[in-house]
């Protein structure tokens, strides 16, 4: 009844190619954006903005990046954390070398550096496939981690290897309150998500999907393997790099290699899988799920009894985390995005059965 496209005619090619062809979808997205930009900063307190919403947004960005690689191009990568670290350290080096530079420019440059590193480590993907490729991306991760911990140049020769990020200044404002950091992150993520959504609908995106479905066949119909695969790595690393820079500058406020260990890569991979492979919306849903779940578990344990010691709790968290992932994969291997799609299909006919 409510959600139905009857009566909405497309009279131009532009209308036919719209991202959200149905007016209800457009209203829905507008409402989400309004809530995100207006309601959340007004209602949220420092804890929710700084420790839940900002990491959620940054993780979403990283998940979009990884989704381009894993979900759209079908190349399994465990190097996400490494590329995030490249973005963070590149942003740090650029921001300290050119203090007058606008933070947005720093971010974009950091993303480009990460993209170049991604290009280099994407080269083996032309010959190596499947899980073998996953292991070679692990090589990228460990190598990058080692470079940042062993060469003082990247940390400006700080003794501890931990450095605080310089303050962010944009258009004359100093971005330091949780509200302003949140708004800035949200704006960046919204723009980049829109770009990604359009990218995967473009010729390039379709070439990626052709490679995912069967790369030999894609090559036969004339999709240039080298260019397309490497572009997937570059774009994916660009997103991960920006996510890493935001993680260091906006969320943690420090730049350290330990913030980007291998578990971070797994976390992002889980977001992509639980959210839904090959879905931009899924990246957000997956990120929300993985960010909120530990909070829910900790609070849930507090409800049942405060006597649970911290180490038992962290192990219980591991158990529940692992079990939930397996449960989700069994119940809905195509992720939360698929659930959303099913819900929409149902909503179309509601309240009538047919």
């Amino acid at each position: 009844m409510i959600y139905r496209e009857a009566g909405q005619f497309k009279t131009s090619y532009a209308a036919d190619e719209a991202i959200f062809p149905i007016i209800q979808d457009r209203w829905f997205v507008a409402a989400i954006l309004a809530i995100g930009f207006i309601a959340v900063p007004i209602l949220g307190n420092d804890y929710w903005l700084g420790s839940v919403f900002i990491p959620f947004l940054i993780f979403s960005l990283a998940a979009i990046g990884l989704n381009i690689l894993v979900g759209y191009t079908g190349l399994i990568s465990l190097g996400t954390a490494g590329f995030m670290a490249v973005g963070a350290f590149a942003a740090y080096k650029i921001a300290t070398a050119f203090p007058w530079m606008n933070f947005l420019v720093v971010l974009i440059l950091a993303g480009i550096v990460a993209a170049l590193v991604g290009l280099v480590f994407g080269l083996p993907s032309l010959r190596i496939k499947g899980f073998y490729l996953a292991v070679t991306t692990l090589a990228a991760h460990f190598f990058i981690e080692w470079v940042f911990t062993h060469f003082g140049w990247f940390t400006n020769y700080s003794f501890t290897g931990v450095i605080s990020s310089p303050p962010i200044e944009m258009l004359g404002f100093v971005v330091d309150t949780p509200e302003s950091r949140y708004i800035m992150t949200l704006s960046i993520v919204v723009v980049l998500a829109l770009v990604a959504k359009n990218l995967v609908r473009s010729e390039l995106g379709r070439a990626w999907m052709a490679i995912r479905d069967m790369d030999v066949a894609a090559e036969v119909i004339g999709i240039p393997m080298l260019k397309t695969k490497l572009l997937a790595f570059a774009v994916s690393s660009f997103y991960c790099g920006i996510a890493g820079a935001l993680w260091a500058f906006v969320y943690l406020g420090t730049v350290e290699p330990q913030a980007f260990d291998i578990n971070r890569a797994f976390e992002v991979l889980f977001m992509v899988i639980i959210g839904g492979l090959g879905s931009i919306l899924g990246s957000f849903l997956g990120a929300g799920f993985i960010v909120l779940m530990p909070i829910a578990i900790t609070n849930g344990a507090a409800v049942f009894g405060a006597a649970v010691p911290a180490d038992v709790l962290s192990n219980l968290e591991l158990i529940i985390f692992g079990a939930l992932i397996i449960f989700f994969l069994i119940v809905e291997p195509f992720g939360l995005a698929r659930l959303w799609q099913v819900a929409k299909e149902k909503l179309r006919n509601w309240p009538f059965p047919y």
Binding site: F131, V135, A139, A217, P333
Partner: protein
């Protein structure tokens, strides 16, 4: 540092030999991966956690004052039961799903097993004494000038025995052949009447046994603690050099990784500021893969449209 190789060749040989022996230890972990991949085409990321779980179970039983061999038996039973339970609860509902889904499920399994092991048996570090001394074998050392650890030699022998046993199992027994058929094609194997579930249960049980052996040996070397679970990350390059689906490959890969890692760490590492053993095997593995995308002994990948 490289000039030491020329001035003191015996030292270089000793480094390589001790690398080879620790490589065998990596192979023990890699064997568990290779077994499951060969039998079901699944890349079981949880193998490292299995090793931790097995070692913790064993050492906790010992600490309760249970006889050594009884503890071995009980842990064996626990690991076999756990392997079968995994097959029942996790894999059976996921038959015929894309491999990446199965892979993710094993990562979930990895977290679950780590949490379970530490909730059951605690997080402290336990020492484990198998009664094999970790000292140089003096008789051999005096005769040849090479001082190698008795413990590592014993571990190498155990690994060798396991490989031979597994190779025989895969090529000679009925179950072993059925395992190979299943790994080729789930559906084709089922259609010729191979009971898939039964076969998978056997595989995971055997993987549990391998995890116990690896856990006992590594636990005795490093102490039984959480870092055992991270052995999985050490075993990965071993695995891809050898080829995912090859038992012999796991051993050869282990030898290559062990020897080159030790050699690089001692002779090349100082040029770069050290601690290169974390990534060196991975880069080595990547280079191997560029020339042989299926690993040294892996089955040739044939692609058809």
């Amino acid at each position: 540092m490289l000039d030491v190789v020329i001035t003191d060749p015996l030292f270089a040989v000793e480094v390589i030999f001790s690398g080879l022996l620790s490589g065998i230890m990596y192979s023990l972990v890699a064997l568990g991966f290779a077994l499951i991949f060969k039998a079901s085409g699944i890349f079981n990321f949880g193998q490292g956690a299995f090793v931790l779980f097995a070692a913790l179970t064993f050492v906790s039983l010992l600490n309760m004052g249970i006889n050594f061999w009884l503890a071995v038996l009980i842990s064996l039973a626990v690991m076999i039961a756990y392997g079968i339970a995994v097959e029942r609860v996790v894999l059976r509902p996921l038959v015929n799903q894309p491999l990446i889904i199965l892979f993710m499920a094993t990562i979930g399994l990895n977290f679950f097993t780590e949490g379970l092991a530490q909730t059951l048996w605690g997080t402290e570090v336990h020492a484990l004494d198998l009664g094999i001394p970790d000292v140089p074998w003096n008789a051999l050392g005096d005769a040849t000038g090479l001082y190698l650890s008795v413990f590592e030699l014993v571990a190498a022998v155990i690994a060798g025995v396991m490989v031979v046993a597994l190779a025989l199992f895969f090529s000679k027994t009925r179950t072993g052949r059925a395992l190979r058929a299943v790994s080729d094609d789930h559906q084709a194997a089922m259609s010729v009447g191979i009971p898939l579930q039964h076969i998978w249960a056997v595989t995971w049980a055997v993987a549990g046994i391998i995890a116990l052996v690896a856990g006992m040996l590594w636990g005795a070397k490093l102490g039984v603690q959480f870092s055992l679970a991270l052995l999985a990350l050490k075993a990965l390059p071993v695995l891809i050099i050898g080829g995912f689906d090859s038992i012999e490959g796991a051993i050869v890969g282990g030898l290559i990784v062990g020897a080159s890692e030790k050699f690089a760490e001692v002779f090349i590492g100082p040029y770069f500021g050290g601690a290169i053993e974390n990534w060196f095997p991975y880069v080595l593995a990547t280079i191997f893969l560029l020339f042989r995308p299926q690993g040294l002994f892996g089955e040739r990948i044939i692609e058809r449209v």
